[in-house]
Symmetry: D2
């Protein structure tokens, strides 16, 4: 790293990229990025160029000596990288639309990272992320992989369980979102707040809140547990928690918990939204189209404020903060997806969890958290079972294992229905599931 | 026990009693029961007398010197007992009807031992079973409590976690039922079959089947996993499992697993049945009325064959076999509900589980089972979380804890709905939930 | 096994063989051994023939149709075997003498299975037992390996940790010895006594004693814990335990525990004995020579009573009882060396332990034991650490790992001394440690 | 804490106090100590006054507004304290001399915190520390107890296991000593070095060393594992480790490990030293007498450099750094004695361990460490067993439990010898062991 840092972003054509570029610009003093390589695939070439040119204008405007490289050649980009971040979407938003629409047809929640949709996003993404890992082991073995691609929990599990690669951190903006909102609720700067995060990705709980080191957990639970707009995320409808429930739970759930603790309402909402405004992917598609229109403007040289609506709030903060701490051996505490290693008592040591960890140059070191409240434990363990079976299915491409994952997912809860959904989704996503169709005869058309 | 064995049966007026009496008669040589005390409460007095008189005629006909005592005074009966069995139902079948009907109104499965119904059966029964335990500690501290009362898993958990009493075994006829059906399917005598049972009550899996000591698990899974009539129980509709699912699972689920792996179908079935023939409690009520008519016949001096339809198949076998082994230090292997103690790796050591155990005079010693298949683990852990919170609610009578139990039960899955169901059921079962209403002002009417 | 059972005994020329043959003859009805193959190596050919001919005479006299085969070709013998037992001694008693004499020179206990001697017996034996396992996997994959060769705990650990072979049971006559002596002390038939055994080989504790199923542990501890002749073994000097210590410990140690709880006295005794009567191996050598003289007598056709002095009391009972239960799926409880699998809480699941287990045709299923008393736990864990490092050294032949094993053995307790002893013993046992000398240049003589 | 911090030091008359005072003065800006209460007992009154007056002169010279209070009334001092530090010695150096001399008579290592001496120091100190805790719960429930009194591991265990008090941190200067020496060896500022510390007090290993976040463990092991003067402590003779042993171990032991890995040499050294210069306590006694002579000098107003020889190097740094981080919620990483909580896999969660932890205002949060090397694990577990039994003996005053602790201590290794040493030491320390002599008739002389 003698000449500054080389960062590679897989899925560089994403509409999120200006977030990331802004983050690197802001932190240039402590994180001197010399080269930022934005990598995408053929199908994303146009977007890569639009967003890449915006990035170049942003860097020029900021006056920092950061080179922006655009490429479709991932292996060229990875050579000697220091950090690799991922934000790609196998099958693009079209695939997500199927993940949302198909389950709904069967009366089952269709969502990006939960239920059948989450399973298929994992099945599509695992072969790609394992490929990235293989390339990294060869081309930049000392680099850290900061995986922002969903479902980051399952992907981290797959990497930790099925490869020997250990320099991976799974990242999500849910915990930072909760952190920011709690700070806002307490009326203080976020720096004064510490939250013990423990659980899994999109299934994380805040089990303790400290303000200047003093325990304010029950205050936060009673005041903020009934979340209004401020406590939800762009892509999950704001919805009150039953206050007695949250108090008895004794921990702060994340917005995605609603899929489990409010399944019926969530399903109804989804069905209604799908009829009215379209599914989330469809809404996002429109937002993205608008964003790329904006990005094209040759006079635009900053991150446009409209990006906020897209749902990636604090994405840049989360990613840049993590990379900065890894680079500078900062030893501050951040919530990440990493190997449990004893942090959460009721999860096996070798599983991926989302947990508060000290971030060192040597990687994240989770804090010992003790255990989740008894009431929260079971759901987390159930989802971890699902994640492990899903990861195995993604790696092996075994049909029955994929069916098993679908059957034990609590949002499905029906073996025969699971099979129907599985079959339709396998067919729909066929082109992105090579591991499931590897032995199929390919005939000329 | 110098003069033979004294057995006390709490809920002695149950229609099941002739099963038990027949079992004791059959086994008199190795289990010389001198006194059988049938205990019931005022409201069950008439049934106690009917069934008690039948018991006396059965004993007389069999010519064994077993005294049958009928009493409403539990403490008198317990004095110096050797074994205490329980088969009582707090609130009788009327309460069970409410457990079934109320959740259905909210679109939630209403069932005796699962979902809201199971929770309320636990809440009603825990105070009574803890009272029995207290009496036993005083009046017959060396006796074993063989608890057949449902939900036996939660009751065993409550006793192990909230008392110092350890001479309790929770018993259920589900495993013996599976055992008998698998033997039938294999076309062999049950004695030649061994099954590794592990999990929780009504959530138990057969993870290994041995025939004469040889592993035939996969054969059994592929042939019998798709159960027909022979693989289900009287009170759960026969229903095929998806064969790919069962094969991928690699273990034999119990009939009650259908509430989780086939939730939607089960709910539909229940709704339809409730409209047509009535809920299971309502059906049972009629069966019981008929049975008691039969029992009254002064010429009847054997167990009437009609009792089989009632659903307690092998109840007598399970209970008498257990007592015989405890009494004779037989060291044979039986599935019971007892403390885990390391038997199942992913369940904490101090939890109640249902597991194959060696039955000694010193109590059941579970065999080390290793762990459940990854795919089964999560659901079992989730139900164990629920059971622990339910047990706590039953012991403390704390409203919020009860709400928490309802919210985290996977058959409910909705916090606000949980509250509505909880409130209606608390009101409906008020007279049997003293722990929840202890501070309420009682006003004269 | 259609035509009866084929048993192969590796080290068939051992003086113990008549014990085994007698055991098979006595149990012929339930364990119909058709062929017994006694296997030995070239150096043991003469003894093999002497003992083999005695075996033939014993069988003839008993009138059972059991064929005795003598061979130096292990692979021929193993073909289609049903059970393989081992009782070999790499390097014969001469090697044991070195194991005893060399450490003593450095003021360290020299003993067959403990301290430096135990380490070297493991290092010499591991390559051979792994070879046997490899042959079995090829030639008789369904056979059980009943390993009586010392140190059976470390060998079982090595097989479980470094091979995929699982049909191994490590066996020792220490627990049966304790069992018999306790029964004698209680004045009852051994069948009426059950003892919970838990720990490691030669480091096993009796933590609970039941007489007809009733707990008599504290009675046994207070009466018998201060052992006289009856509570020790042929090869360990009888010696009182401090009664307050044993009572506070709350468990019955085995004779070998004296090496740890009475180290100093044991060392002094050894030093004295070495001067006076010779070390144990030297004493045994004379006994064996006498035994073989006896065995040669063509008129001898029963096990000679003099064999008892040799130290293998109950060896035949232990081995034959185990094989009979494995063969007949007896499901009785026997103490064996097998994978822990949750039986003893403070030992990792994947380690070999010595523990009471139900013996089925499918192998031993340990009972859940809970945990050792806190005071006993630490020593057992320390020896387990030693055993694991010793097993690794035996498999890899790595010098530093062997040094590490020697250094952490509590009977050595000195790093530089450990190195001296290690170096001298490596040299002394060179011909039996191919794994440590594999890269050494072999020069023509 | 509105008016600054109140710190209470139990055993304030210690010769170490000037270290502490100097530390508070240096850190006044971030740790504004308003009141420092030095508490001692009647027997230590003179020393308290000498050292207290020196403290007053030091504060005056430094010009910080810190009040020094001297008192024999502990309860008065504790009222509303913010931090309580302990550095007392029950029975003074005279008791330590007995701890050293008596075991030596029996050929057993006599040492302040290991073997019989460590046991007796624990037995004498536990009643006093539990009394301090009781007072704190009443008089300053929000204060932190920073226990520097030896054996701090056993004391922390006793507090965590036998009280509900959780605001305790056990502190030792061994890890900081290792840290400083490794930094010195690497030729860098200590701030650039991070060491993963894990184990128990006086039995801690450095398992990973990072320099600026880069792993330099094997370099440190190979260069520094063979410690010279720089790698030992004042009170333990410098002594080479066998380099092959340390390399195979793969971790950096602490100086006290020599009592276990080099037992024989250590015993010989001790015996020789005892003859020549006297035991460590005797040497220290002279040093202390000299120090107090120095302290009396009314012109002395700084910490005299001679104090360094006393052995408490970095004591002040360790203590003040910890208090500063607790007070300021610094979230830096320090090695402390606290509840394991999953940090070290092979130690139960509820045990006290010495481990690297993030220091927050909410207390220390250990980092997840994974597990100790297999070879180190067993010894640590054995000492933990000893510590638990020792803590129980200290709390209960039960003779047999104390004997058990003595018997299982690996430095004793002999039951009858243990009893002799125990009896002599109980008698010798009688006046400081009220829990063991509570029922003894006291007769007038």
């Amino acid at each position: 790293m003698s000449n500054g840092i080389k960062i590679v972003t897989i899925g560089g054509g994403s509409s999120y990229t200006p977030e990331l570029v802004e983050g690197f610009i802001k932190r240039y003093d402590e994180l001197p990025v010399r080269e930022l390589w934005l990598v995408d695939i053929e199908a994303g070439k146009e977007k890569l160029e639009i967003v890449g040119n915006l990035a170049k204008r942003m860097v020029a405007k900021a006056g920092v000596p950061m080179e922006i490289h655009l490429t479709l050649d991932r292996r060229e980009a990875l050579k000697d990288a220091d950090f690799v971040t991922t934000q790609f979407r196998v099958g693009l938003l079209e695939a997500r639309m199927k993940d949302e629409r198909i389950p709904l047809k069967y009366g089952v929640i269709g969502q990006e990272t939960n239920g059948p949709g989450g399973l298929f996003k994992a099945l599509r993404t695992i072969p790609v992320i394992l490929d990235v890992v293989k390339d990294m082991e060869e081309l930049c073995p000392n680099a850290w992989l900061v995986n922002f691609t969903n479902p980051t929990g399952i992907l981290t599990e797959a990497i930790l369980r099925y490869t020997n690669f250990r320099k991976v951190v799974g990242l999500c903006n849910v915990p930072i979102h909760i952190h920011m909102n709690i700070a806002k609720g307490l009326g203080v700067e976020p720096e004064r707040v510490h939250i013990d995060f423990m659980g899994l990705n999109h299934m994380v709980y805040g089990t303790k809140v400290l303000l200047d080191g003093e325990d304010v957990t029950s205050r936060v639970i009673s005041e903020f547990a009934r979340p209004t707009e401020s406590m939800t995320m762009q892509n999950i409808k704001a919805m009150d928690w039953n206050p007695d429930f949250i108090e008895a739970l004794g921990a702060i759930p994340c917005p995605y918990h609603r899929y489990y603790y409010q399944s019926k309402v969530m399903l109804e909402e989804e069905l209604e939204a799908a009829k009215k405004d379209g599914t989330r992917a469809e809404v996002v598609k429109k937002l993205e189209d608008d964003l790329f229109e904006l990005y094209k403007d040759p006079n635009l040289n900053i991150k446009p404020p409209q990006l906020e609506k897209r749902g990636g709030a604090y994405y840049s903060d989360a990613a840049c903060r993590l990379i900065t701490s890894l680079y500078n051996n900062k030893c501050d505490i951040q919530p990440v997806n990493t190997m449990n290693n004893g942090a959460i008592a009721s999860i096996p040591d070798d599983c991926a969890v989302e947990v508060s960890a000290v971030i060192t140059k040597d990687g994240p070191k989770p804090l010992t958290m003790g255990d989740l409240p008894v009431a929260a434990r079971g759901l987390v363990q159930q989802i971890k079972s699902f994640e492990r079976v899903a990861a195995e299915a993604g790696v092996t491409g075994d049909y029955k294992t994929a069916l098993l994952a679908m059957c034990i997912n609590p949002l499905v809860g029906s073996d025969n229905l699971a099979k129907q959904i599985l079959d339709e989704m396998l067919e729909a996503h066929k082109e992105h599931l090579p591991q499931f169709f590897k032995n199929e005869t390919v005939t000329a058309n």
